[in-house]
């Protein structure tokens, strides 16, 4: 994204376009990435409820892949995930590994 110069900015840092936080890729802030292990998933959707960044996608009542453009890697989903028989369906893996 090309950064704007000061003359092009909206007065007082007002954001006139609703919902445009979607265009802001916060995924690059991540140090740890959550990994979904579908075999251990019981579809409880705790991860979807707890994620502060709406980075767990859900379609037709079933969870899908993480939205890695917006997941900041906080690890809340992995912490809350009950998994199957004590085996977590989300694990945090260090980025770059």
């Amino acid at each position: 994204m090309k950064l704007k110069g000061w003359k092009e900015l909206e007065i007082g840092a007002v954001i006139p376009e609703p919902g445009n936080a979607d265009n802001y890729n916060t995924g690059s802030w991540r140090a740890f990435r959550p990994q979904w292990i579908e075999d251990n998933c019981i579809q409880c959707l705790f991860c979807w409820i707890y994620c502060p960044d709406s980075a767990v996608t859900v379609k037709d009542g079933k969870r899908g892949e993480f939205d890695y453009d917006h997941c900041k890697g906080c690890g809340i989903c992995a912490n809350e995930c009950p998994g199957k028989k004590g085996n977590k369906a989300i694990v945090m893996v260090e980025e770059g590994k």
């Binding site: 000061w6 900015l9 007082g12 840092a13």
Partner: protein, 392 residues
Amino acid sequence: MGKKLAVTGNQAIAEAMRQINPDVCAAYPITPSTEVMQRFAAFVADGKVGTELVTVESEHSAMSACIGASAAGGRVMTATSSQGLALMWEMLHIASGMRLPVVMTLVNRALSAPINIHGDHSDGMGSRDCGWIQLYSENAQEAYDNLIQAIRIAEHESVRLPAMVCMDGFIISHSIESMEFLPDETVKEFIGEFKPTHPLLDVDNPVTYGPLVLPDYFIEFKRAQHEAMSHVKDVVLEVAKEFEKISGRSYGLFESYRLDDADIAIVILNSAAGTAKDVIDVFRDKGLKVGLLKPRLFRPFPYEEVAQALANVKVIGVLDRAESLGGFGPMFMEIASAMMTNGSNPLMVNKIYGLGGRDFMPEHAEAVINELKEIMDTGKVKVLKEYIGVRE
């Protein structure tokens, strides 16, 4: 023409607010500006204005409510003093950073401790870096005139910044003097309709105010704010010209008094300038070429214009009714910067006076002028910064 009445400074401000008839006023009264809100609240109760008066639990909340109301799209005013302004401090930056043209009267009062309720400029000077336009007023007439003009200046499309109009606590706020009011209709026409830029109440065009801005953009927003400030001088002069047409009273960025051929100049703000002018007349009668410069617009500070007005002066005495402990008085710093960047190198001294409402008497002005004359004759400054009117 308007009517002439004998009123207190606070009454003059309340009257101006009645004529301006802001959409919202959120305030928490504090001495010595209390009477402003007391009288204005009566106008609201009597249906003389259509203002939504929000009574809040602190000045921090007052300014917060003003910010919200201004972002919503209203014309917003308030008034405060001293500790009240100090409590507003973080919100002052938010009002200016969000570019909301809130207009506030600041009845200048000392800051604690020790606690004191009387007039000095430590409150106003303490907020000089908050991004607000600051206009200072010598008397009730100037405060009234400045407040009406401040609406136009703050709301000007090339400015869009909050503005405060300052006058001295008690000395002006509580003294009765005769002044001229403009007719209601004239004020209404002069200020016109407020046209907000991004009103939150425009629900068809939703906007976000106050987002997080990180290092990749923060400095760009400050640069844009600086640009808006740099437009203020021209707008102040343009508005003053129009104001002269309706009032017959002329205003500039500052007032020059007997300065044209002066060798010696006094720079002083607000009410004490009146006392100093009287003493200058006495010295002029004796043949000493002394004059006075009374800044009106302190933020943004008109450096070039002030330096030009003082360019031929040999000695300048800058009198501050505020302290920057460990530094020069705030006015001295501005005058020194103005002269240095203009390439002038006059002899200068800084006098701190009138803190906590101590009277500035003719003999104080007289002593300063005598000292400035001695500096001119000897070419030597003995003490750069000193207090006057203080017991040993």
